[in-house]
């Protein structure tokens, strides 16, 4: 089956600035893909190109089998797009705005009312349908934007920072809505908030400075990029002996000990990549007759990975710069 989005070597240059540099990725039907990156990474630029708002400088972009440059109108018929900051006509009423959008999106006349009713229900807009958009809270406006994106039953939803500027309750509501929508639509959403992507998406594309750094499921990213976080151990026993014996266990890369506020010793064990020395730790403690109070592995979050990937990228760049300087 042909992928929903197929991007090959996408490059976008603005006057003097390269916003995207040879980006390639695909999104299959039914996926919820998160676009993750710091501000200015090229997320919005990619989405604008996908939605047909601006063209690329080079590369090939296909949505639902149509070329974004050659069949722009056809591509737009298959996309529900919510731009960054969710711009809406503030002077219109919710129902009025959505009705206008059904018309310009080419929803057939006899289906308009049904579509409108459905998205109003889906996005929980019934109580505000006659309110002026400019007077709504940001959470409701965001839902109007989502409702608009859904109006023409698009195959693909492109949501640029769908939860930005919302309060925690609203964020949860919008995330839940996106999750529900994922059952019926392919979704590409961008975010610079990690838990969001971690919670809603089944694949993550990390992008920085116009290049893709990683693309995988959140779990796999955690597994492959950062084998394990620190293991925290609390043991009752002589501190120096505990440090020495735990440090000698196979698979342990390093040990840091600090005294607790009682006779327990707190040890932070750093495992070697890809190993899990917890069993060894338990056995060592048991063999020495010490008391074990805690044995916990920090769960690495996507956040750690994100920071790590960014740092590796920065270091690599620093090295490149250094070597260039060296050549001179």
């Amino acid at each position: 089956m042909q992928p929903m989005i197929n991007v090959e070597n996408l490059t976008k240059r603005y006057a003097g600035v390269t916003a995207l540099n040879g980006v390639s990725f695909t999104v299959n039907r039914g996926e919820i893909v998160g676009f993750l990156g710091p501000n200015g990474a090229g997320k919005s630029t990619t989405m604008r190109i996908l939605a047909g708002f601006i063209p690329a400088s080079a590369g090939r972009v296909q949505v639902a089998g149509f070329d974004v440059f050659e069949d722009s109108l056809e591509v737009r018929r298959h996309i529900g797009y919510m731009p960054e900051n969710n711009p809406l006509y503030m002077d219109m009423r919710v129902a009025e705005y959505l009705k206008f959008r059904t018309k310009i999106k080419g929803v057939p006349r006899n289906e308009r009312r049904d579509r409108l009713e459905e998205v109003v229900k889906q996005c929980g807009l019934d109580e505000v349908r006659q309110r002026v958009i400019g007077q709504l809270s940001k959470g409701f406006r965001q839902r109007v934007g989502l409702a608009d994106a859904l109006l023409a039953e698009p195959d693909l939803l492109i949501l640029d920072e769908p939860t930005i500027g919302l309060d925690p309750v609203q964020i949860r509501q919008v995330r839940q809505l996106i999750k529900d929508l994922g059952k019926r639509h392919t979704i590409l959403l961008s975010s610079h908030i990690l838990p969001e992507v971690e919670m809603t998406c089944n694949r993550v594309i990390i992008i920085n400075k116009g290049r893709i750094l990683a693309s995988d499921t959140p779990e796999n990213l955690v597994k492959t990029l950062h084998a394990g976080g620190l293991i925290n151990v609390e043991v009752r026993g002589p501190a120096s002996e505990v440090t020495a014996k735990l440090g000698a266990i196979a698979g342990v890369a390093g040990v840091k000990t600090r005294a607790g506020n009682d006779e327990f010793v707190c040890v932070a064990v750093e495992p070697q990549a890809g190993t899990d020395p917890r069993e060894g730790i338990f056995k060592t403690v048991a063999a020495n007759g010490w008391t074990l109070r805690e044995l916990v592995r920090d769960r690495t979050s996507l956040e750690d990975i994100f920071v790590q990937v960014m740092r590796e990228e920065d270091e690599a760049e620093e090295e490149r710069r250094e070597s260039r300087r060296g050549l001179r």
Partner: protein, 248 residues
């Protein structure tokens, strides 16, 4: 076409959902009411060669100078400032459909304002009776002139609105154009060049002589073609400017 109609409805809605539409109409009626009253006052002093409506049409430039920038300045500038142009241009509509609908919206509002002055004809008829001063032919062609010239000025206002995100800047640009076109080109220049080829050339572009012809009941096809093709040029250029986001 369906797209244009939907977009046009949204444009008209925007005029009347905000106070802008009402303020503009009120301003127009105040200015035209004063002009009309003054004309009637002067003409009632004795027999004249001109009719009240003829003089009124010849004054059409005065409200246009302020109203055209006011009704066109937000058309594209505001969409760009608020970012709503992104919603508009990622819907399956072409750039030209958007530009054309915005032009039509302003033309409809403009026509509506002038339509209200039809009341003056009724008033004149009531007091002056069925006299020759109320020949409906020249009145009809006067309205045609006001519409044909006004729609061109609106297209220019739309063009300036596409150049900036700032409504005030757009208004000042179209005001500057209207000022040059309506006053300098049509009223001053013929004064400086009273005869010769340059005068003939100026006559051809002179809004004033066109409007006078229309108000006298002369429905010449040449100025109509001139204004409509100038409008086509302005709308085409505006579309290219809107598209320019794609090649900048």
């Amino acid at each position: 076409m369906r797209n244009v109609l939907a977009l046009l409805r949204r444009e008209l809605n925007a005029y009347f959902a905000s106070v802008l539409g009402y303020i503009v109409i009120m301003f127009f009626l105040v200015v035209m009411g004063v002009i009309f009253g003054t004309i009637v006052l002067f003409l009632s002093r004795g027999p004249t060669q001109v009719t009240a409506m003829e003089v009124m049409f010849s004054m059409a430039w005065l409200p246009a100078l302020f109203l055209i920038p006011a009704i066109t300045m937000r058309l594209l500038a505001e969409e760009k400032r608020a970012g709503t142009i992104e919603m508009l241009m990622t819907a399956p509509v072409t750039d030209f459909q958007v530009v054309f609908a915005k032009y039509l919206g302003a033309v409809v509002l403009y026509a509506l304002m002038w339509g209200l002055t039809g009341l003056y004809v009724v008033i004149l008829r009531h007091f002056a009776g069925e006299s020759s001063a109320l020949d409906l032919g020249p009145i009809a062609s006067g309205y045609v002139g006001v519409l044909v010239i006004g729609q061109f000025l609106i297209a220019i206002g739309l063009l300036t609105s596409s150049l900036t995100k700032n409504q005030v800047a757009a208004a000042l640009m179209s005001f500057a154009f209207l000022f040059l076109f309506l006053i300098v080109l049509s009223m001053w220049m013929p004064h400086f060049f009273p005869s010769g080829d340059l005068n003939k050339a100026l006559q051809f572009f002179s809004y004033r002589s066109h409007m006078e012809d229309f108000a006298r009941g002369i429905l010449d096809i040449r100025p109509v073609v001139y204004y409509l093709s100038a409008t086509a040029w302005a709308l085409f250029t505006t579309t290219r400017i809107v598209e320019s986001r794609k090649w900048r």
